[in-house]
């Protein structure tokens, strides 16, 4: 396994100290790490899944628009972060876990761009919404 860029390594170390669920993805959209709060939210530990290719993420979690979403919430924050290299936030998304549990969430994603201007991946943060 090739070593991750040091910026991604530092991002992983930081997420280990946060109480917010965070997923790190590489430039291909592969999930390369998620922290303990994300494990709790997703219902599965990172040690069990390891890295998850983009096409396999649907087996773990499914994101869909919340029926009450506003027009401004269109677009997947992760895709915007990786493809347009800008931060994005979705106020109303539904997250369905592999055990069928549904959660109302907000999602923030931002690209990780190194000092050489190279896109290294993205950080995706999940915010659970208690009510409608």
């Amino acid at each position: 396994m090739t070593q991750q860029p040091v910026e991604m390594i530092l991002a992983r170390q930081l997420t280990g100290y946060l109480s917010v669920p965070v997923i790190l993805v590489d430039t291909a959209g592969t999930v390369v790490f998620y922290n303990e709060p994300a494990e709790r939210m997703l219902g599965v530990r990172f040690e069990e899944t390891g890295r998850i290719e983009r096409e396999e993420t649907d087996r773990l979690v499914e994101l869909s628009d919340d029926p009450t979403a506003k027009p401004g919430d269109a677009g997947h924050p992760l895709e915007i972060a990786l493809e347009e290299r800008r931060p994005a936030h979705a106020h109303r998304l539904m997250l369905r876990r592999s055990d069928r549990v549904r959660l109302q969430i907000e999602v923030t994603a931002f690209p990780l761009i190194g000092q050489e201007g190279k896109l290294l991946g993205a950080v995706v943060m999940f915010w659970e919404r208690p009510g409608p």
Partner: protein, 279 residues
């Protein structure tokens, strides 16, 4: 590849009788290839004595900077070849997100910090931003990689057909890790150090000292040993000794770490004047 250590002290030059055995000059290492090409790693105060030993008739020298903290560039203004119009000097180092390498070096090599302007040195000077590589430099193949240390900082892997060296003098791969080392994929500097014949690695602190210096960009001697084991190196040279570590204390600290870790590779604390022949 011949490797000679001219400066092994971290942070601040510490001359004097209490550091005479391991030396007080700051980071500088000289490499000589089979074809006679010379590469200098960092420009700490050790670069002045290095320059005195350069072969007569040498026309090109490459200086590879890991970063621009003062202990790694303080000797640059006193590097003899800069003032020799027959010499071609190439300086490689990291840019920042907003300043070129030249712009960053000029902050030191200009008044009021230094009387001679970088643009006025008489040698043929070329500055290069490091790229990941590998890049051929003389008889060496050089790979640079960003490593965990405050500010833009790289480590180097230098190879010939028969030998390999990794140079990570300022490196804190354990920063933020709840256990260290993590897997190779998540360990800063791993790709640079993987399987090298000789690893020169930051070993500034003892385990007792480290909690007061977390985030300063340096490793414990124990972590240097753990990193070397993870990378599968053949020989570790703990480097960048703390300026407060006198000779006897340095030997005791390394001996303690070796006793605790039981490395399956050689460990030789960096000492000024030490030479290693690789390949």
């Amino acid at each position: 590849m011949n490797v000679t250590l001219y400066g092994v002290r971290g942070s601040l030059a510490t001359p004097g009788p209490l550091t005479a055995r391991y030396g007080g000059n700051t980071s500088c290492v000289g490499l000589t290839g089979a074809d006679g090409s010379v590469v200098v790693l960092d420009a700490g105060t050790g670069i002045r004595p290095l320059a005195l030993e350069l072969p007569k008739g040498l026309t090109r020298v490459d200086v590879l900077l890991t970063h621009l903290h003062m202990d790694h560039i303080l000797g640059l203004g006193f590097f003899g070849p800069l003032y020799d119009p027959r010499m071609e000097v190439h300086i490689w180092g990291p840019a920042s997100a907003t300043l070129s390498l030249e712009g960053r070096l000029r902050r030191y090599l200009s008044p009021p910090l230094f009387p001679v302007m970088l643009r006025d040195v008489p040698c043929r000077l070329e500055l290069h931003h490091v790229v990941r590589g590998p890049v051929p430099i003389g008889g060496f193949l050089v790979t640079a990689g960003r490593v965990c240390h405050p500010g833009p900082t790289v480590g180097y892997r230098i190879e010939t057909g028969t030998a390999s060296l990794a140079y990570l003098p300022d490196h804190e791969p354990a920063l933020g890790a709840r256990r260290f080392p993590l897997e190779p994929e998540w360990t800063s500097g791993f790709d640079l150090a993987r399987g090298v014949d000789l690893l020169l690695h930051d070993a500034q602190y003892t385990r007792e000292e480290y909690p007061r210096h977390v985030g300063w960009g340096h490793s414990t001697i124990h972590d240097a040993l753990a990193f070397a084991r993870l990378a599968g190196v053949k020989h570790l040279v703990p480097f960048h000794h703390d300026p407060g570590r006198e000779d006897a204390a340095l030997e005791a600290a390394v001996e303690t770490a070796v006793r605790d870790v039981h490395p399956e590779f050689s460990v030789t604390p960096a000492a000024e004047g030490a030479r290693f022949e690789l390949g």
